[in-house]
Symmetry: C2
């Protein structure tokens, strides 16, 4: 029974790792679609999202199977529930990448981003993707130090995000309200994606170690 | 065993109902704080949020107790997991009300909202609060028709939210970029709150009936 439990838990972790990789790819492509006004890439992110939703449904089924067949208690039980929550966050990260791709598609062939904010989004995209790839890493390597590095990266996204606001709120912003609205929403998507990545990393640390790190993160406006 | 299970499940449902009521109060007060630039009310929402977080932790503990002591299978198991997800959405609704309250506090004593968008927020606040109160209703009355009405109300919030964008994107918007950014983020908070309320209602229908209604909702930009 214990052995069957660990085999099934490994399968569930493998699925979470694959979801992390999927949502990292999605955000990488969505960011390129956004920066290069690449409609084909945007469409690909949009059509690939269903695979993330399916992977999440698979994780839920595996978690149910673990709970129903193994009836875990104490830490084992919390580990399975943590995996359920991680799957939910990963699906949400996929949705946020999808929102970015849809913004790129909506304005095509016009660029969504005025020139001065492009570097911010290139950077936020880079960090977001790194966060999701680290989440995958943590699951596969069970290296807790990697998990901890995720929180530092999240701080970086928050800093860029804050700075972005000072750029668009500047009295001399020449790109108008519509562009500022797009930038505001897109900035929010990148920031939330990073928040969810931190939440996933924390859950994964728990899945791997049975111990929850620090206090809970989350978006502060 | 079956009887103990149902007693504990009723306790868990009672806690979810109380959380629904807390986050409805929070959004009602946050909206008034926003519309009336009422700093005291904003502070109250901000300090009350910890009670929502605690209630969510209580729900998790009750769910763990149910899973560990009763080892439910099949539908019973899914009902407990649905309650866990509902508690997570309710906590997030509390966070969104908190964001609204913080926006009111940040700009105090200035109003956050330019005059022409105030009615939109008054209306979105009203519908959001009604959604959360209906979620509470559904849990207590187990009336599935009420649960279904929640989706109609969510459509109303989406409509107002879309219309709000046409107002701030209008070439003649005279209130500048900073106000537009505030309005964009606040609009997003009200829209996400409604999305989560729909998700809670769906989970609750499942907790009450053992059947999940329709396909999954969620925010489409």
């Amino acid at each position: 029974m214990r052995e069957a439990y660990h085999v099934e838990l490994d399968n569930l972790a493998e699925n979470l790792a694959r979801m992390s990789s999927q949502v990292a790819d999605a955000m990488e492509r969505a960011t390129r679609a956004l920066l290069d006004s690449d409609l084909g890439l945007a469409e690909q992110v949009i059509s690939d999202d269903v695979a993330v939703d399916n992977a999440r449904a698979d994780c839920e089924e595996q978690a149910y199977a673990l709970l129903a067949l193994q009836a875990p208690v104490a830490t084992d039980l919390r580990v399975v529930v943590a995996a359920l929550h991680a799957a939910e966050s990963l699906e949400r990260m996929g949705d946020l990448a999808l929102h970015v791709a849809k913004a790129a598609r909506r304005r095509h062939p016009d660029p969504v981003l005025p020139e001065p904010v492009r570097p911010y989004f290139a950077k936020m995209g880079e960090v977001d993707v790194r966060l999701a790839r680290r989440a995958e890493d943590v699951i596969r390597s069970k290296d807790i130090e990697v998990a901890r590095s995720i929180e530092t990266d999240d701080d970086e996204v928050d800093d860029i995000h804050r700075h972005l606001f000072t750029v668009i709120m500047d009295k001399d912003w020449p790109h108008g309200v519509a562009a500022a609205v797009d930038v505001t929403l897109l900035g929010r998507f990148y920031e939330r994606y990073a928040d969810h990545a931190v939440s996933v990393a924390r859950r994964i640390v728990f899945v791997v170690t049975g111990q929850m790190p620090g206090s809970s993160g989350g978006s502060e406006l």
